[in-house]
Amino acid sequence: MLYREAGQFRSTYAEDMQIFPIRQDRIALMLLLAVGFVVVPMVATQYWFSALLIPFLIFSLATLGLNILTGYAGQISLGTAAFMAVGAFMAYNAQLRIPGIPILASFAIGGLCAAAVGIVFGLPSLRIKGFYLAVATLACQFLVLWTINRVPWLTNHSASGVIAAQKIEILGYTFDTPASKYLLTLSIVALMALAAKNLMRSETGRAFMAVRDMDVAAEVIGIPMMKTKLLAFAISSFYCGVAGALYAYCYLGTVEPEAFVLDISFRVLFMVIIGGVGSILGSFLGAGFITLVPIFLNLGTTFISDRFDIEISHALVSNMELITFGGLIIFFLIVEPNGLARLWQIAKEKLRLWPFPH
């Protein structure tokens, strides 16, 4: 079906304010959800679930979280992994220490604790911007990991600091297969993405963007700076916290604090940049892209080495991965700061007018 806006007249503001005003977008989303919930579980292998799809979804959620803060509210952060760690370890503690608590409530507690930490480390943003703020959030990264390593209570006195995620049970059903964990993750991520989309098209989202684009003007029209910035940190960290909990429960299973090193923060930041700063869709594109590139590189090099009978070392492959990411990030920062999401949008605009570009 052609992607056309022509002929779809919206006669009321309510229609114009729908989440996806263009019919083709609504259909595409429905199809995508159908594929995600029905088709994928039928065709995917164990490996797909646990090595590809689940991490892709979890990183999409973390990227969405960072995008709310950096893309929408304009506050840079390198603390993503720390907020994820808080989410993971606090969900674990909630599950461990509160008898009979539902697992989803534990995830929410993980997210709320991350939000609280986010607010504390967001306080410097009231005074400083850009590079200096990035350094302040870096402090959060180290402080959180240090705390988890040093406070035995947080890891239930585990000698190595490693925790084992409890089993996931909802209404008597145990999520123990990769497919079931995938479906759980997908449901949570889809709902939270919907909430993010709603939030960003409401007053809160506009306040975030106003603060990002011109903070003096934002204050002058009555947007409270402190509340807005701290809310951005809180919501963003909540998303990262839930992503961290899912990372522990649906992906890793056993978790050490070192699972949340600075590398992860950077990886999520790259996903934001490549996917598209200030775009919900971009968060998914960026996460998908960065999750898939190593796999395609692997396939490609295996193919080449088989075909031409050359030995390609693992070191070379992982270096190529880094070089590819580095190159892409430079490309996007210089050529298309709004990332894949913007490229997609341009393609859609072209398609909308095709075949008559005028």
Binding site: Y13, A14, M17, I19, A195, A196, N198, L199, S202, E203, T204, G205, R206, A207, M209, A210, R212, D213, M214, V216, A217, A218, E219, V220, I221, G222, I223, P224, M225, L231, I235, G278
Partner: protein, 269 residues
């Protein structure tokens, strides 16, 4: 320049003093931007501030809505006095403004920019918004209607979905006025709303300013360099030079004021 002047009789005749500044002094390091300036603004009035470049006009507006904080002086609004204002509190008290260098939110559409102007009227919390539930949804719709009225009033329907960064300068100025109007302010501070516009755009802008004043009774404080415009649309004029007030009165009085003539002719004192 021929523009529609105020309707006669005016729907909202000039009333009591609404806002006044008393002995305000503001300096930046060694630079005295304002020295001991006092004047008042009456309700429903169009009050112009004029003066040569660097006279302190923009600084004065910035003091009025809390962007700058004067070292000395008092600001009185509806009988309450303040040593200085806080931006978002000034907004809550009904002061809206536009800036000399357009201060729109570049990454947002015209519609979203104008909607931000109504943020103080929105009551739903972020959880309701995340769920697009009940009050949040109803509120978006109500405010969308209000914003569309402003859009119609300023004749910018055709660009409502355009990111403001892509608009030409004259239209951006108009969108900034729309954002200020969306707040339904009691007092509107306009910093050179017509600067850099061609004649036609200036006439449009003049008409909009007068219409705002006539229809909504909004009190307007306006900085403008174009003397023709100032003389045409303002009720009273304050003249600043080197941060001091050198004249204050009706356009006719200002025209005949020797100190003002000297300042504009560049006579040194």
């Amino acid at each position: 320049m021929s523009v529609a002047l105020h309707q006669h009789p005016r729907a909202h005749p000039v009333g009591e003093v609404l806002l006044s500044v008393e002995n305000v002094s503001l300096s930046f390091g060694g630079v005295n931007a304002l020295t001991d300036v006092s004047f008042d603004v009456r309700e429903h009035e169009v009050r112009a501030i004029i003066g040569p470049n660097g006279a302190g006009k923009s600084s004065m507006l910035n003091v009025l809505n809390g962007v700058y904080h004067p070292q000395k002086g008092t600001i009185r609004l509806r009988g309450k006095s303040f040593h200085d204002m806080v931006s978002h509190e000034a907004a809550a008290m009904g002061i809206a403004r536009t800036f000399q260098n357009i201060a729109l939110f570049k990454g947002m559409t015209v519609l979203d920019n104008i909607l931000t102007g109504r943020n103080l009227k929105m009551r739903s919390n972020f959880l309701q918004q995340a769920l697009w539930w009940g009050p949040a949804r109803r509120e978006e719709l109500v405010h969308r209607h209000a914003v569309e009225e402003v859009i119609d009033f300023l004749e910018i329907q055709h660009v409502r979905k355009t990111p403001v960064g892509r608009l030409p300068y004259g239209l951006q100025k108009r969108v900034e006025l729309a954002r200020a109007l969306a707040a339904e302010p009691k007092i509107l501070l306009l910093d050179e709303p017509m600067a850099g516009m061609n004649l036609e755009e200036k006439q449009d802008m003049c008409r909009f300013i007068l219409d705002v004043n006539d229809h909504y009774g909004t009190t307007i404080v306006l900085i403008e360099h174009d003397m023709g415009v100032v003389m045409d649309i303002s009720d009273r004029v304050v003249v600043l030079d080197y941060g001091r007030k050198i004249g204050d009165g009706t356009p006719e009085e200002i025209r005949g004021n020797q100190a003002v003539i000297d300042a504009y002719l560049g006579v040194t004192h």
